[in-house]
Symmetry: C2
Subunit: 523 residues, 2 copies
């Protein structure tokens, strides 16, 4: 029996929505629809180049195909019954027609729900949204300038900090709760900390089929009863099906199958490193990761035709001098923009990774690497931009203050994606005539100027626009100094209460929750 009102059962605190947060900030922010602005103005590839890349990916799937690591998972067997073939080398060869059928079944968009329905987002090709991703094993303490190991408290702190940042649209745990002894504890407590910390849509990765069932049950409890999660899935699943190059892995496949059955939208992830697990040539890396993601899309549609998913070819960059990952480079920006363009061309939503600075600190390097990567991915039309805030050290570290700083950056980038409105009014012939022919010679008092102040312009929260003198009088602070103040204040005061104590008790009875009631600010 399904309940007709999908929001029933949720306890929402008064004024917990985006509009309320915006109001409380006392700074104008351009209100955006859940659809987001329309992107696709940046085209790293020509149409001809795009088609060559896709032809190559199809060719790779037909002639090289996918290896299977471990046992043959159920949906792989089914793929073989339904048109895929096994090569002499034991690899699964996937005909182009089968990929095209899967693409035709793939939804052009889907809703990723927030616990607060005002924060739900529409995931669609060419409509960029920004979120966090993982997985950092160290976290920078800006007070001491040193990194320490991450733990469960960091997951909760990160979630409730991000909860207050309007340009971040979904929350996945960046820090890994390394203090959890088992994968079950890790998965359950990570899910709980995110659920508890924010009302925005969530992202999650789970380590076993059973954990998928468990976490779905936890989300059902939070949403008001069995089956509620599948009606309004408040989390998407970040779950690779394979291990590059061109391999399905049994363990990952069966988790993915369960997640699809439970109603999680699935990110079809393939994350090879150019020069190591994919070709060093950027074009070749796009080809291979596209082939891998397309194979994953065929796989997902074999489990459940038409299930919501994102095309998540994530071609990573290695620094070929050392073999280590480098997430902040221009090459990385090109790769992610290219796969975003591939998905836009295919008309399906994409997930990309952008914002993975190599810097260990929230410094200028961090700023320019993140900004370049995220801006190009966004303008190329990526639907979901993961890793867009808080990350450092090529994903090995994170920093709370960086979420705050990066939120300002994301506001700037979003503004550019909104674009320039060209209309008779905005072309401003009338004000130009008025001011210049008979008028004041300036536009300061024009009615248009006052009207557009809060619709045409955004005002950042922590980026400083003072004069040198004003800035000096205010203590010569960097954006890190200002973010530290905001972070401290938020962690002291912001304990989201959208999960009622009654439901919280039920979750605590059903699961071994390691975040104490005190830690979450409840009696």
């Amino acid at each position: 029996m399904t309940n007709k009102d999908p929001t029933a059962g949720r306890t929402r605190s008064e004024g917990s929505g985006r509009a309320a947060r915006v109001r409380s900030r006392k700074q104008p922010v351009i209100e955006r629809s859940p659809n987001g602005p329309l992107a696709g103005r940046f085209n790293p590839l020509t149409t001809g180049e795009l088609e060559r890349i896709l032809e190559s990916a199809y060719h790779v799937l037909e002639t090289v195909g996918m290896e299977v690591m471990g046992d043959m998972p159920p949906a792989a067997l089914k793929m073989l019954e339904e048109g895929a073939t096994l090569s002499d080398h034991g690899r699964i060869l996937i005909p182009r027609s089968k990929v095209e059928d899967a693409l035709a079944l793939t939804p052009k968009s889907f809703t990723l729900h927030g616990f607060d329905s005002d924060r739900s987002i529409e995931v669609a090709a060419g409509r960029p949204h920004f979120g966090t991703a993982g997985g950092a094993v160290s976290i920078l303490d800006c007070e001491t300038g040193e990194y320490r190991e991450t733990g469960l408290q960091d997951v909760y702190d990160m979630a409730r900090l991000v909860d207050t940042l309007p340009n971040i649209h979904w929350c996945y745990r960046s820090p890994i709760a390394r203090d959890m002894e088992t994968v079950e504890l890790l998965d359950n407590n990570t899910a709980y900390s995110l659920l508890r910390g924010t009302t925005m849509p969530l992202g999650i990765t789970l380590g076993s089929v059973q954990n998928v069932k468990n976490v779905t049950r936890m989300f059902d409890l939070a949403l008001g009863g069995e089956g509620r999660f599948s009606e309004t899935p408040i989390a998407h699943m970040v779950q690779g099906a394979g291990v590059p190059p061109l391999r399905f892995a049994y363990e990952r496949c069966i988790i993915k199958e369960e997640a699809i059955r439970q109603g999680f939208p699935i990110m079809i992830a393939s994350a090879p490193q150019a020069g190591a697990t994919s070709p060093a040539a950027l074009a070749g890396s796009v080809v291979q990761s596209t082939a891998e993601a397309l194979a994953g899309i065929v796989y997902a549609n074999t489990v459940k035709p038409g299930c919501p998913l994102t095309f998540a070819a994530w071609p990573f960059v290695s620094d070929l001098r050392t073999g280590a990952m480098s997430g902040g480079s221009g090459e990385q920006a090109l790769l992610m923009a290219a796969v975003a363009q591939v998905a836009l061309y295919l008309g399906i939503p994409s997930s990309v990774a952008a914002g993975m600075t190599d810097s260990k600190l929230p410094d200028a390097q961090s700023g320019f690497e993140k900004s370049l990567n995220i801006a190009l991915a966004g303008h190329a039309g990526a639907a979901m931009i993961h890793e867009s805030a808080g990350m450092h050290a090529s994903l090995m570290g994170c920093c709370l203050e960086s979420y705050v700083i990066d939120n300002d950056m994301l506001g700037n980038i979003l503004r550019t994606i909104e674009g320039i409105t060209v209309s008779d009014d905005m072309l401003s012939i009338a004000p130009i005539k008025e001011v210049n022919i008979d008028g004041a010679g300036h536009y300061l008092g024009e009615s248009q100027t006052l009207e557009l102040m809060q619709s045409e312009y955004i005002y950042p929260a922590h980026s400083n626009r003072n004069t040198i003198e004003e800035w000096k009088e205010a203590g010569s602070k960097s954006i890190v100094d200002r973010a530290m103040e905001y972070t401290k204040n938020t962690l002291e005061n912001h304990h989201p209460t959208h999960i009622s104590n009654e439901i919280d008790d039920k979750i605590r009875q059903a699961f071994d929750i390691r975040l104490s009631k005190e830690a979450i600010g409840r009696p």
Copy 2:
């Protein structure tokens, strides 16, 4: 009598070219042609929107026209004889046909010469190059964290520092020599300090007709004799003709006329602030600044048909809460990308301003604001990107270390403008088959990987890619720390010697040069 070899008379130190500098760095850098990569992959406006903006700009020139501040300058009188008309309000109305004629005369590209001819650049629509601009009245001392007034030594220091940075392609003085008592001293000494400090192309602004003549003479002396500058102009002139909104100013116009006669390529600058001296609507600000730049192009072609110039509509952003300029915003990025696109559509080279952070420090704000603005301007096809390094505080400040940091950023951005090479080889079908079907299962030892290591990837100079452990062992430094070391070392050791002592003596005899011989490291 012109000399047949335009490089004769120049004293070039052995190995002073780009290739030598690159070699000495011991890090692979992608070699670029002076033409630069082809951009235009980012299109903030649709073709329809572009055409509406241009139609509106033409309409403004025909119906509102240009006011003249002060006396009517010679070329304005000539414009009136040649098709422009005076309105009832005394404004110069310019018919569309006259603008189109001027655009047809405007060179699609021109060479901006370096004293070192290896560093000459081809200025062309859609071929981005990066340079410095001005004009800061304060400079940040990274040791103390404090700003102080700028002086002549700063101009020289900035020039010789920038001289070592491969991703900066021309040099204009960012810091203003505030210790010069007269405009003549200021202009001559600024020109001398740039000429002395770097072999790359220069940019300059001069305050009187006489100073244009004087500085041309200085450049002639440096290049080997009278008339040499006009053969290989080693500097372009940054010289607005007007004062927004829609005004020619007599004093600026006559300087511009002299500069054109002396052979300087001219940046046709119009820099209104949206909401103050142009409409608050972004589209309207693009319309007005486009109209102003087009009027300037008509003006320049009236002085000398076909003279080399850049379309430099610079629509600036005001923070409408305070009226102060804000150079780092997303709105600013959109505006500059839009005017770059206008120029690309017209087929003429553009100058834009991007990299004007509002931050007072080389911090994360600085990084993300600069990167967003420069990347979008570059991908939109701007020919010359001014203000691309070293600037702070919405152009009121600069910082030596920031040139070094920003050079790394510019390398990243340039790499994205280079784009992805899509060819049979780079699509990598052969390595994919080899590695996956019979091969090692990874690409580390592939011949393609080794071949592409230095052509497909760039390696930054100061951006850190170490692991957290390695970074900690090396002292947990930020990119500012590393840039400080580089800056200190460069200023101690790098005194360019491309001007011979004999020529230097001649310049010192002809001009009151306030940089001592000791300051420039010569006997």
